[in-house]
Symmetry: C2
Subunit: 227 residues, 2 copies
Amino acid sequence: MPLDNFNYSVSIDCVIFGYDTTDLKVLLIKRGEAPYLNYWALPGDLIKEKENIDDAVSRVLKDLTGLSNVYMDQVKTFGDVGRHPLGRVFTVAYFSLLKIEDYQLNPSSFATEAKWHSVKRIGELAFDHNKIFATCKQELVNSVKVKPIGFELLPEAFTLTELQNLYETILQTTFDTRNFRKKIHSVGLLTETGELQKSVSHRPAKLYRFDKANYKKLIKSGYNFEI
Amino acid sequence: MPLDNFNYSVSIDCVIFGYDTTDLKVLLIKRGEAPYLNYWALPGDLIKEKENIDDAVSRVLKDLTGLSNVYMDQVKTFGDVGRHPLGRVFTVAYFSLLKIEDYQLNPSSFATEAKWHSVKRIGELAFDHNKIFATCKQELVNSVKVKPIGFELLPEAFTLTELQNLYETILQTTFDTRNFRKKIHSVGLLTETGELQKSVSHRPAKLYRFDKANYKKLIKSGYNFEI
DNA sequence: GCAAAAGTGTTGTTCGTACACCCATGA
DNA sequence: TCATGGGTGTACGAACAACACTTTTGC
């Protein structure tokens, strides 16, 4: 294999989702350099020479948010001829989920600004990032139905109403409260923390925690999550 | 962006599935050059400079099998440091499905031999192809449950028993004949060709055809295939 | 005591599953 | 006529969908 085949570049781009009790959000950065100077874009970076793909994603997430061990999932690779004005750059798209209140702004050097945007109001993004975003949003919808990943977007302790609102927001639908709770309880992936909501001007809700250990036990015995 | 970032290579690899009435098969090539000389490997090639990813896959499929318009689906990109001995080569893995009787051997220059292997008996493959194969096989299983792609592996006209065997083989399970037929018929994606099986020494089965037009109509109205 | 959200059970319907016999053909 | 796979219906239980009222808290 002649060395002149080694003339492409590969990056990762990350669709970072957060949820703030009313709205699904995505974290975008404002580009601080050409091309697409001042456009909003998905956070991402070139993959370094001695770096695996997943590690590049972790690095970008850590740089941008200060967080490690964030949920992430590879979605698709985009590499159309001409998608990048400076050369042939392939990009591996990921989506990731984080608890929005854990996030602290820590803008990396290549971004002048980072900001949460409602997924309902995304303007024109840099490069082919609108296409990447759309693909990843759809993948989130598909995944959330068959994997218990919604919890990644909620605080450690949450109420059933919050959980229901989250699913309704992502799936753009509504559920009957009683049927939703019945389903959730039948699955047995939640444990009560014993705590109640504080200082709400109505009956306080019980707080629950996602039982990851039990989930791992269940998948080993052939269980399939479905909502 | 400095030009010295453009020093990676990107390939595609394709897990090509076929089905021969008893067995799920994958088409492998025997490598005719180093590295991994004489190892069995997934068909693939480097992506050319002015070539989109999907087009590279179509090209490899056409070169190898003579077929165009083969079903294909991007699965995942593999790019671990050290996965290729000659440099940093990322590979975008696809699976594809074809009617095995349409296939004619047309080995491309880089292969000394191409051969169908039972998916149950795959030895040690070149590079990280065992991992890629495993990922794509799992993706086939997941996809076949929610998309009517099984038909891509069968002849144009097929019997319900053939269809059932195919699903049982892929999903490694068995179905009750009556329930399977009930489900298939209720969906309404098959039309009778009016023909019967010929020269079998038992009652000949009706032949059916997958109704692609009706399927497209159904997905537009929100239908979700599920088996 | 009132506003606001939490929490809970029953019933009808739909869907999945289990199961056994007759039919059409070639040899 | 026999061997081989093709083709069909019913009954039971599980899962899902629809639906309304009481409870607890802050103000």
